[in-house]
């Protein structure tokens, strides 16, 4: 069997809407430098470099080769993967396989996106080519607006619940120096009055376009124990892609189709002896492009029964001090450099397991954490991290 794999280094940029002070190479280099510093390693100690982003966002072809010098990949093995919004987690999967295989003892795993040099919604619209449907796209925003409407009608959730989720996210973001949107919201009223972006989604209810990068350093077991006293083990990782839903892009209003989220966590929980997720897992960093999605995902990740995601919010269970904290980092609704976002989820979950999340460290002791990613037509990557294996 393969090596066990641990995260021994974590680095992020300070995610912002614009980073005009750095080129793409330099921005990604910042995250790499932070990860090397965190692990007290030098570039020579890194044996391979794996990267991920969505090329059409910057309209840069083969960006990994372009940034080889700045990401310590010069004269080293490595490669780039690109799926959809899940790209930042697909690269975590490949890093996991490559280090476990024994081909490399250490590897840099990097997700990045510099959205200040392109047009994100235009790039997403490019996911459907004109030969199939020209001009019908409303971008991801439109899709999630439809989702929010369906969730409201199906579960009886109120706009106030969605606003409470947004407030929770902002509380976390304000305690996370790397987060992009740190608004200092005081009450749900501010969210409710923020005007519609795409009905029924309001301005504050959808993720920003950010520029940022996140770099992790993976190490095999015997290497990891030499590098750090606090390795975070990748216990397991499940990727589930799927065909587009017949009646929607990110959700199935007919209620007849299985979600990749459910399939992914079923496999993950069964393989790792998890019978009661919010007991056996201590916290989660999930990929929620909108606050409505967060409530729906509570259900798809079996944190609560179907149609009761909003009740967890009402009882404050997922607050930082709550019974099952979710997205203490502020989540995707506060920070979304798309290629890096899934990698950030793994990084933030790992910081919680290490107890190094500083101001946004959750109250509950975290020995096990889950990070998820959403992308493409509702694809899912679920990663399980543990303090000890």
């Amino acid at each position: 069997m393969g090596n066990r794999v641990a995260i021994v280094g974590i680095g992020q940029t300070f995610h912002k809407s614009n980073r005009k002070d750095v080129t793409l190479q330099e921005m990604v280099g910042e995250a790499v430098r932070a990860a090397l510093l965190d692990a007290q390693m030098k570039t020579q100690d890194v044996e391979a470099v794996f990267t991920a982003n969505m090329e059409t966002f910057e309209n840069i072809f083969l960006p990994d080769a372009m940034m080889a010098d700045e990401t310590a990949a010069f004269m080293k093995p490595g490669l780039k993967v690109a799926t959809g919004g899940t790209a930042g987690a697909s690269v975590v999967e490949e890093g996991f396989h490559f280090v476990a295989s024994g081909l490399f003892d250490t590897a840099l795993v990097i997700g990045f996106e510099k959205q200040d040099c392109g047009d994100t919604t235009a790039a997403i619209t490019g996911a459907v080519t004109p030969v199939w449907g020209k001009g019908v796209a409303t971008g991801a925003i439109g899709e999630f607006a439809k989702q929010a409407l369906t969730y409201m009608q199906k579960t009886g959730a109120k706009e106030e619940h969605a606003a409470m989720v947004r407030l929770k996210a902002d509380k976390g973001a304000c305690r996370n120096p790397y987060a992009h949107l740190r608004l200092g919201l005081k009450s749900i009223k501010e969210v409710l009055d923020s005007g519609y972006l795409v009905w029924p989604l309001k301005f504050l209810e959808f993720c920003p376009q950010s520029s940022g990068a996140c770099a992790l350093i993976f190490a095999s077991e015997q290497k990891a124990r030499k590098i750090t006293r606090k390795p975070v083990w990748i216990a397991d990782l499940v990727t589930v892609h799927q065909e587009p839903f017949r009646a929607g892009s990110f959700g199935d209003p007919t209620g007849k189709e299985e979600y990749s989220q459910d399939i992914a966590v079923d496999r993950l929980y069964k393989r790792n002896g998890i019978t009661n997720p919010i007991r056996d897992i201590c916290m989660a960093e999930i990929y929620e492009p909108s606050n409505w999605e967060e409530m729906s995902h509570y259900e798809h990740y079996h944190f609560c029964p179907r149609n009761e995601g909003w009740k967890m919010v009402e009882k404050g269970m997922t607050e930082m001090e709550g019974e099952f904290p979710v997205n203490p980092s502020g989540g995707v609704i506060a920070t979304n450099p798309i290629g890096a976002t899934p990698t950030i989820r793994v990084a933030e979950a790992a910081l919680q397991v290490r107890g190094d999340a500083g101001e946004h460290q959750v109250t509950r002791d975290v020995h096990t954490a889950m990070a998820t990613a959403l992308g493409g037509p509702n694809w899912t990557v679920a990663t399980l991290l543990r303090r000890s294996l």
């Binding site: 047009d119 080519t129 030969v131 020209k134 001009g135 519609y196």
Partner: protein, 162 residues
């Protein structure tokens, strides 16, 4: 002197590049059949998976859910249907295929076509947000000339009262 200069933010140079790239996307055989039926007969067709018996949309050589070959069991679908979901853009969206910033003039809806038809994403003719709320039954309005663009042969779906 130097402190004053230090405060001045350093000038940052940007490089603007705006170059379209041409593409020739092929419909392939299965989507080509949708183009042909729309062009010649103003009909919407899809092929049915022999295993799960569901209509495959976007028509393809394989049913991805069953991992079996889809074959040529083509079904003509009604071009009437019921609106399941809709949304409209508040802001113009840069559409890379037009190379322009367009606010889609029409709302985009998911329409369930009658008689076990597929869920089709297309435009609604109705643009008034208030009236949109009670648009339920709709029917396709086909172009009379200039067809040959598959689903683009339908201008939009018009509200029908049934």
């Amino acid at each position: 002197m130097t402190t004053e200069k230090a405060e001045k933010k350093p000038e940052l140079i940007k490089v603007d590049i705006a170059r379209p790239r041409t593409y020739k996307w092929s419909s392939g055989k299965y989507l080509g059949r949708v183009y042909k039926e729309a062009l010649e007969n103003k009909k919407l067709v899809a092929n049915r998976c022999p295993k799960c018996k569901e209509l495959i949309w976007q028509p393809a050589a394989v049913c991805g859910r069953c991992n079996v070959e889809a074959g040529e069991d083509w079904v003509v679908m009604s071009d009437k249907g019921t609106v399941v979901q809709y949304t409209y853009l508040v802001f113009p969206l840069w559409d890379p295929h037009y190379g322009d910033r367009l606010a889609n003039p029409y709302p985009t809806a998911t329409i369930k076509l009658d008689d076990d038809g597929v869920f089709l994403v297309h435009f609604l003719e109705e643009r008034d947000p208030e009236k949109l709320k009670n648009v339920k039954r709709v029917q396709a309005v086909w172009k009379e000339e200039g067809r040959g663009r598959g689903l683009g042969d339908i201008l939009y779906f018009r509200t029908i009262d049934e």
